[in-house]
């Protein structure tokens, strides 16, 4: 049930055709697991908090560094040296006190991932390395919850949404390829765009609106200001989702 204050706060989105109070209530009930509070995680967290997500469970083991501030807009100069999850929680709490923020300052590992994700309704992939992305993808498949992928490099970004058991997964997309983790070039506007696309997908999924970015990889080339789509077919022999029969949770 929405309060009077919430009805007022979210009035403009409740007005959207098909959204309504019912959609807002769905957002309020939702728990989102956000893996990463960096360049992608910042816009994802800000726009999900703005939209009135019930619970944001944010995992990041890093502390804020000066070199993060060109893109990780949740963190400010005063937060340098502090844990990113604490910095994020402080801003988000002031921005929207109605959103419950849960913080996890641990590294996401094979051993703890199931517990960390817990009873979240979905996973947002805002990580900075492929092994953890694959691990989160596998976890989403194991739990039968959606997975919202985003990645950036320089002026280029990509996004794809995964509904386990129904659509191509991250492993179908990259077939387990590993790219060594290294310092990568990026300007803040790129994760801003991709993070907003991920947040948009999450909102659409939770509310039940529109068509999701499934079985499609969206490629954003900011230098040519061009969006391209690649059709991603499920790999019948995918190590992660090829034999699974689990279906995504019905909302």
């Amino acid at each position: 049930m929405l309060t009077e204050k919430e009805l007022q706060r979210y009035d403009r989105q409740i007005m959207i055709y098909g959204f309504g109070k019912e959609g807002q209530e769905k957002l309020k009930k939702a728990k989102v697991f956000l893996a990463g509070a960096g360049g992608l995680g910042s816009p994802v967290a800000i726009y999900l908090a703005a939209a009135g997500i019930g619970t944001l469970r944010i995992a990041d083991h890093d502390t804020v560094e000066l070199s993060n501030l060109n893109r990780q807009v949740l963190h400010w100069e005063e937060n340098i040296g502090k844990r990113k999850v604490d910095s994020a929680a402080a801003k988000l709490g002031k921005f929207n006190s109605g959103v419950k923020i849960e913080t996890i300052a641990d590294t996401i590992t094979e051993a703890n991932v199931l517990k960390l994700v817990g009873d979240s309704d979905l996973i947002v992939d805002a990580m900075d390395n492929l092994p953890t992305r694959y691990l989160l993808n596998r976890t989403a498949i194991a739990k039968g919850i959606p997975f919202f992928h985003g990645a950036v490099y320089g002026f280029e970004g990509r996004a794809m949404t995964v509904l386990p058991g129904k659509t191509a997964c991250l492993n179908c997309l990259y077939h387990g390829a590993i790219v060594p983790k290294e310092k990568f070039p990026v300007i803040g506007v790129t994760p801003a765009v991709i993070g907003c696309i991920q947040a948009t997908e999450v909102i659409k999924y939770l509310v039940g609106l529109g068509e999701l970015l499934t079985d499609r990889l969206l490629n954003y080339d900011a230098l040519r200001m061009k969006f391209t789509e690649f059709k991603i077919n499920r790999d019948p022999n995918c190590d992660c989702c090829g034999k699974t029969s689990r279906q995504v949770k019905k909302r």
């Binding site: 900075d128 970004g157 390829a177 990568f184 990026v186 490629n219 690649f230």
Partner: protein, 90 residues
Amino acid sequence: MSVEVEISPIFGRYTNNVLNMKVEGKTVRECLHDLVRQFPDLKKMLLDKDGNLMHSYDFYINGENVYPKDMSKPLKSGDKLNVVFIIHGG
């Protein structure tokens, strides 16, 4: 037998910022080898010592992924081959 190739902007520094080009070849392998013949600086970026596409890169044919990722996949005149870098930054 001409195939249209589009490469990720990351490769622009090796091709004088040319990102769309025509190549000749009947398979992905032949087309990629013609690509690096035209732009030799790309070779060390794209291909390993056996002439295969390095694991950091991926390709799509006519806007679609293919299984298995096989360099011998046939291409015909008018096809489009996209070569992309697997990005993972957040």
